[in-house]
């Protein structure tokens, strides 16, 4: 129990990821698949962000410097700053996410135009019919 509490963010990430994964695999509606995909990626972002946190009042790593932008000696302690790298990575990941999302939606539109539905089983049904005729 305590184990779960201590690492709750990781547990949430796992649960979210599983939800997304479930949606991608099981859902019959392609739009829901896409949504699942997004949840999946969001969970990932949570994972990375969690790796960056520091407990105990750590803040954004912006060095307060003097007029010339030189750091004031003695103000730099890694402990005071959270690790920025994961956030930066996730910025990139978000961009990738958005791009994938956009492409997926565009494809959905094309699919809908072609089959007049975005239910996977119906699409497969149509394809089977056309294969015969």
């Amino acid at each position: 129990m305590d184990f779960i509490i201590a690492k709750y963010n990781y547990w949430i990430y796992i649960i979210l990821m599983m939800i997304g994964f479930y949606a991608m695999i099981v859902k019959n509606n392609l739009a829901k698949k896409v949504v699942g995909m997004n949840i999946f990626q969001t969970a990932l972002i949570l994972l990375f962000i969690s790796t960056g946190v520091k407990t105990g009042g750590a803040t954004v790593p912006i060095v307060i410097g003097d007029a010339h932008g030189h750091a004031i000696p003695g103000t730099l302690h890694a402990i005071d700053y959270i690790n920025p790298l994961p956030h930066v990575l996730m910025l990139t990941a978000i961009v990738v996410m958005v791009a994938t999302f956009g492409v997926a939606l565009a494809l959905l539109i094309m699919i809908f135009k072609r089959y007049k539905t975005i239910e996977e089983d119906e699409i497969l049904e149509i394809r089977r019919k056309e294969a015969f005729t």
């Binding site: 954004v60 912006i62 932008g69 961009v95 958005v98 956009g102 939606l105 565009a106 539109i109 094309m110």
Partner: protein, 151 residues
């Protein structure tokens, strides 16, 4: 497809809000150096402001504001600014994206130059993100038809 509702409240509210949002977007962009913020966030805000307009009015109106072609150009210019800065450094004899090289053409020291270079990149990013947001939105909202709508 987004139809126009002729709803005076929504429309004027949107018109009223848009400049503030855009100003805030710029603020976020330039604050990026000293606090959370930067090109991505600013860009999203910038794009959102426009999307708000389109939702409040309709796509035709949106087209009047930003044509597809203009949007594309914005798109490309943004990335151009970004990678162009990098290339400039490369031409100035440093590594790709090594902004400290910009000190050669800017009246500042290498550290400042790095800062300014990153600012330039952030601007590029802002433009691109905004344009991309808009074009994705328009593409999807108009089901990919708006190229025809242009003609």
């Amino acid at each position: 497809m987004i139809r126009r509702h002729e709803d005076i409240i929504i429309e004027s509210l949107a018109r009223f809000l848009t400049p503030f949002i855009q100003a805030f977007a710029l603020y976020v962009l330039f604050l990026g150096h000293y606090s959370p913020g930067g090109g991505f966030q600013g860009g999203v805000l910038m794009g959102a402001s426009f999307i708000l307009l389109v939702i409040a009015y309709d796509i035709i109106e949106g087209k009047r504001r930003i044509t597809e072609k203009f949007n594309i150009v914005l798109n490309a210019t943004g990335v151009m600014v970004f990678s162009g800065t990098g290339l400039l450094c490369l031409i100035l004899g440093g590594e790709f994206l090594d902004y400290s090289q910009l000190a050669a053409i800017l009246p500042v020291g290498p550290e400042e130059a790095r800062g300014l270079g990153i600012l330039a990149v952030e601007i590029g990013v802002e433009i691109t993100v905004a344009a991309i947001m808009v074009s994705i939105f328009l593409d999807l909202a108009s089901a990919g038809e708006h190229e025809e709508a242009l003609k």
